[in-house]
């Protein structure tokens, strides 16, 4: 008899998804799917609105990475107001946006690692779920929990002074920004009382990498084989190949490191990327057009970025990057749990960039906005914490948005997340007659490595207890369990 197991929702990810695992007569996994069951429709909501509202409207997609949507929309509208494609802003305009972006990356990555993932590392993925959470972390390793809370607070403060508010700010406007950084704001972030200062954030970011490496050293076999599979990798990079999460050209490499998309202008992303619709999910499946659906899917996010870029332009993160690259002999890293390693290197990179920018006097300049000849179409692409984020708008002669297309980071990771689920389900569930909570958590660990934001991906908020349903070959429900 074939069994179908449903894990719904997936916990400790952003939003609400469910996993179904179809078992055969011998309790082996036959097929598995990550379903995204929410629909939000932001691309339709913004139609008919004045274009300058887009950076404020679209960030309501998400309470965790609103800055990414805010900036991607603003970059697209830079093109529409004739301010160029990411390089035409004033120094203070671009640098304030970068500072905002690094602050958002820093807090988002920190929240993901310390709040959502450190419990798995600290207690093990098969530990009692009653302690496998941030409260358990605080009881077991108070210093780690303190660092998580204070690093997140610091990132939020960076966002507050650059965007105007901690969540859903208004700092970026078409063609620039609406405020610079005051000396007082700069000094507070740079030299604030311990631990809320730039030096401490760099130090703690280094410590977080050491925490992961210590765990990796003691659990090498599991970390390296867990949901490991070859894939392509895509991100933007600076024109010289450096890691750049704010602006660059689109580049993709295959699992061996061969270039399959060679530093192309993202204004024409639609020439290179296609999205497939599957009838069992609201989330689309993007792929590189020239390689087709079967061979063109790719990973995005921290792991992909470090696989795609040639170097990191800050010294301490570069040192960590060299260590990371050496582990796979310079070849792309295809190990899903190494997303955490890559993510923490990016935390360090952002901490260094924040510290550098705070010392840059351009941030006190007053030439905030540039304008040029209005266009009717613009594309903004940015690396969000979870991966490459595309915003594309067309406006009419009345300045109203008539078309919006968003390809969000989590959508780009749809196929790899499905493959990670399948790989993990087979490893942990094959031949087992009973599905236990640790097995279900293993599947979730695979998904969490990608830090998906399902709210963003379907353009929805959701929070429910875990639901597990068993179906027979006729898809008749034979059992259902809940976990809060």
């Amino acid at each position: 008899m074939t069994k179908k197991i449903t894990i719904e929702p997936v916990t400790r990810v952003e939003g609400h998804g469910k996993v179904t695992i179809l078992m055969d007569d011998y309790n082996n996994v036959r097929e598995s799917r990550l379903h995204i069951v929410e629909f939000r429709g932001f691309e339709r909501f913004v139609q008919g609105r004045p274009y300058w509202e887009a950076p404020v409207l679209v960030q309501r997609l998400c309470g965790i990475c609103p800055v990414s949507h805010h900036l991607a929309a603003a970059k697209a509208l830079d093109v529409i107001v004739g301010a160029g494609t990411g390089e035409g802003l004033t120094k203070v305009g671009e640098k304030m946006r970068r500072l905002m972006h690094y602050g958002q990356f820093f807090q988002s990555h920190v929240l993901h690692f310390f709040h959502l993932c450190s419990p798995d590392f600290l207690f093990g993925i098969d530990a009692d779920p009653a302690i496998r959470n941030i409260i358990g972390v605080a009881q077991e390793n108070r210093e780690l929990a303190v660092q998580g809370v204070m690093m997140r607070k610091y990132g939020q403060e960076v966002i507050k002074v650059t965007a105007g508010k901690k969540i859903h700010g208004t700092g970026a406007i078409p063609g620039g920004i609406n405020k610079n950084l005051s000396i007082e704001e700069r000094d507070t972030l740079l030299n604030g009382p311990d631990p809320l200062n730039a030096d401490k954030m760099v130090e703690w970011a280094q410590g977080a990498i050491d925490f992961f490496k210590h765990y990796h050293k003691n659990n090498k076999a599991m970390v390296d084989t867990f949901a490991e599979f070859p894939s392509n990798h895509l991100s933007i990079v600076r024109k010289d190949g450096a890691l750049d999460i704010y602006h660059g050209v689109l580049r993709a490499v295959d699992h061996q490191g061969n270039r399959i998309l060679d530093d192309v202008d993202y204004q024409e992303y639609y020439n290179y990327i296609e999205e497939e619709v599957r009838n069992w999910s609201y989330m689309k499946f993007p792929y590189l057009k020239h390689l087709g659906k079967e061979k063109g899917w790719y990973r995005v996010g921290p792991l992909a970025r470090l696989n795609v870029c040639d170097f990191i332009p800050t010294p301490l993160a570069q040192e960590a990057f060299e260590d990371f690259k050496a582990y796979t002999g310079g070849k792309p890293n295809n190990m899903s749990l190494h997303y955490h390693w890559a993510r923490l290197i990016e935390v360090l990179y952002c901490a260094e960039e924040i510290r550098n920018l705070l010392k840059d006097p351009d941030l006190q300049n007053n030439d905030l906005v540039v304008k040029g000849n209005k266009q009717h179409e613009g594309v903004g692409v940015i690396e969000a914490p979870r991966g490459t984020l595309f915003h594309h708008y067309k406006i009419n002669d009345d300045d109203l948005i008539e078309m919006a297309n968003l390809i969000v980071s989590t959508t780009n990771n749809n196929e790899p997340m499905n493959r990670a689920v399948n790989s993990t389900a087979k490893s942990f569930m094959n031949g087992k007659s009973e599905i236990t909570e640790p097995m279900m958590n293993a599947v979730e660990v695979a998904i969490r490595a990608y830090d998906p934001c399902l709210s963003c991906a379907t353009h929805a908020l959701g929070q429910m207890p875990l639901e597990v349903s068993l179906y027979d070959a006729n898809e008749t429900l034979i059992d259902k369990k809940f976990k809060s």
């Binding site: 916990t11 400790r12 990810v13 952003e14 939003g15 909501f45 309501r60 309470g63 965790i64 929240l111 993901h112 709040h115 959502l116 779920p129 009653a130 959470n133 941030i134 409260i135 605080a138 009881q139 108070r142 929990a145 303190v146 998580g148 809370v149 204070m150 997140r152 607070k153 939020q156 901690k166 969540i167 859903h168 709210s455 908020l461 929070q463 809060s484």
Partner: protein, 160 residues
């Protein structure tokens, strides 16, 4: 002097979901008008883990949030760490979770209250509904009375 934080949360872009934030705005204006010194105000779209550090700095914290529950106007209740559910999403956490995390990390926690304010409209738009404005005014009085009962403010400040 008892240091107090009043913290409203919710999304003003979803009509009455912004009731907590609107209450904080109203109370802050009242506080400035009356020269109140010992009450701080904050608001956000949602609570998150860093709020554990924020509330650790206060003796009394009052959270205000919109409610879809079947209550009349508003409902004030005490919060304690033991009420915390373990939450797995990080989009938002509850006041009890923040209190519990604060207690575990900073080994102390403030006396904490949560004021639920009944809302009715949740569309993608700004502005509190007419019905909910009545509840907002009731909620304002509840907070003033609480502050007065706890001798955080002098009764002579009650005039709005």
């Amino acid at each position: 002097m008892n240091k107090v934080l009043i913290y409203g949360y919710g999304n003003p872009g979803r009509r009455d979901d912004g009731l907590g934030v609107a209450l904080v705005d109203k109370l802050e204006k009242w506080s400035i008008a009356n020269g109140i010194q010992n009450i701080d105000f904050d608001s956000n779209y949602q609570l998150n883990i860093e709020d554990a550090e924020l509330i650790s700095q206060y003796e009394t914290v009052i959270f205000a949030d919109a409610s879809t529950e079947n209550i009349e106007h508003c409902l004030l209740s005490a919060v304690n760490p033991s009420q915390a559910r373990i939450e797995f999403t990080m989009h938002a956490v509850s006041p009890a979770f923040v209190l519990n995390l604060c207690n575990n990390i900073f080994k102390k926690f403030p006396e904490t209250y949560l004021l639920h304010i009944k809302g009715y409209e949740w569309d993608f738009n700004e502005g509190i509904s007419t019905e909910a404005k009545v509840n907002l005014n009731k909620a304002f009085r509840v907070i003033i009375n609480l502050l007065s009962d706890k001798k955080i403010i002098n009764k002579t400040y009650q005039k709005v």
